[in-house]
Symmetry: C2
Subunit: 299 residues, 2 copies
């Protein structure tokens, strides 16, 4: 089954201790779509300006991402630039230029509206609502978010939580949303806000999946060389949704393995600037690393 993914589509200028790379393909929808594309056909929803580089479109096409829902409008593409500190855990935004993203309203082509799996990747909750309003009867809807929306669009986000099956957020966002430092208690509070599945991303420390009184805790795939962590969280959730959409059996039964796959996609993402490492990966390499990951975590 195909996965519908809405989110940001951007050009990122990234500086890390390993180098500087201007105007790389970025944005939550780009990362999540490429990650999901290894498992399933992806229908992407987003907006770019008429300055959007052709090689970026070619990258989407290489991954057979359906671009019918990608609006190309007059103006400049959303541009983000940021800098990572030596330890790669802290990053500083240097500049954000919204461009055509400022007035983006996602329109779903008819061929998108029946998608069974929907990933509302990180984007304003109002736009996530707008996409859901256009869907027929999706089987499984997951939303991701970021601290910005907790700060400036909390009422919209809280309403969204009542409409999704799964909610993905990182450790500090979970703590901020619930005013609860303990992540297990934070997950319980988030369940009461709506979602049946709560997934808390802890970066290099792995992830927690909470499914109403059932927990799953997973480490991250260990990397000895992180080149650029930008987009790793988006790749995690994109890989997870891609895997889920094609696995046999119930979503609940497949979620743990989906997190394993998501972690592996995120690990590839960190090994290169932007999407450069991930786009070179093969399905065989992913299967091999998943196997390796299973061995690394087996008691």
């Amino acid at each position: 089954m195909s996965v519908l993914i809405v989110g940001s589509t951007a050009l990122d200028s990234i500086s890390t201790p390993h180098g500087q790379h201007p105007r790389l393909l970025g944005g939550s929808a780009s990362y999540a779509s490429v990650a999901a594309s290894f498992f399933a056909p992806v229908k992407m929803v987003g907006v770019v300006g008429d300055d959007f580089p052709k090689p970026c479109l070619a990258l989407y096409r290489k991954h057979k991402i359906d671009l019918e829902g990608l609006q190309i409008v007059a103006g400049r593409t959303f541009h983000w630039s940021g800098e990572y500190e030596t330890n790669m855990n802290n990053r500083r935004t240097l500049e954000t230029e919204l461009g055509v993203f400022e007035t983006f309203t996602p329109h779903l082509p008819v061929s998108y509206q029946n998608s069974a799996f929907v990933l509302l990747a990180n984007i304003a909750p109002a736009l996530q609502h707008h996409v859901l309003n256009q869907m027929r009867r999706p089987k499984f809807v997951v939303a991701d978010t970021m601290d910005l929306w907790l700060n400036i669009a909390l009422p919209d986000l809280l309403k969204l939580l009542k409409r999704v099956d799964g909610f993905v957020l990182n450790e500090s966002e979970a703590q901020q949303l619930t005013q609860e430092h303990n992540l297990i208690r934070a997950a319980k509070k988030i369940h009461r806000m709506g979602p049946k599945y709560v997934i808390i991303k802890k970066g290099e420390h792995g992830a927690i999946l909470s499914a109403r009184n059932k927990l799953f805790v997973a480490p991250a795939f260990p990397l000895d060389h992180v080149v650029d962590p930008t987009g790793a969280g988006d790749c995690f959730v994109g890989g997870m949704m891609g895997y889920l959409s094609t696995a046999d059996g119930s979503v609940e039964a497949n979620l743990r393995r989906a997190i394993l796959y998501g972690s592996v996609l995120a690990s590839y993402c960190c090994e290169g600037f932007g999407l450069t490492a991930l786009t070179r990966v093969t399905r065989a390499a992913i299967a091999k690393r998943v196997k390796e990951f299973e061995i690394l975590t087996r008691f």
Copy 2:
């Protein structure tokens, strides 16, 4: 087989958001010995003053800990007092009174010198050396440490690393010792300093075991209520060594499960002030939580 454990024996006055408790039994040897005692007979080496409360001795005896190596000398028992912040991750030492610990020289009774498993729990590296010097031919020696010794006794510690099979330290200590933020690379550097097995504790985020080109990554047992994390790291390594000393097969083959057991012992430790929760635990409860932990982490 019995486990020999040397470390500090102390009275701790602990303040957390959940309460204040003065003069609880503490110290790395106390925590590690109680944790190990669920699996194997423990021979403890330490020192206390003549003010040491009888109920603390009774607690050791309840766990059948061999106290022939516990010196009781005139003077005051080592006393530490500390306070945890609301999030329980940061703690502040309020007072340290070394007392009889200041002039402690560990003497090993003859009956201790043939122990096969030796845990050099957190204590000055010079004293860890001194214990090793008195041992015949231990089968497996593990050392733990703390940031203090990296700061004031690094040459001693580096010499010790050439004499131990396994070295346990926490995330920030590994980073400080190696000047390397990435923990996988940090572990590789520590191997080059001597130990065949490097175990990096990440508290609520689990642990990494590195065994020369072989990695094992484990999450921590998830707790929704942490009362007092004091001693959790000592219980982790104590539980690990206790399990190892009684498991059939090679140490290398058993280390992963030993870490699982260590994590479970550490989790019990966090559920009460000082040793109060751990000392009430039964072998059956440990087996049940280990099972639960396996289910929580199974893909």
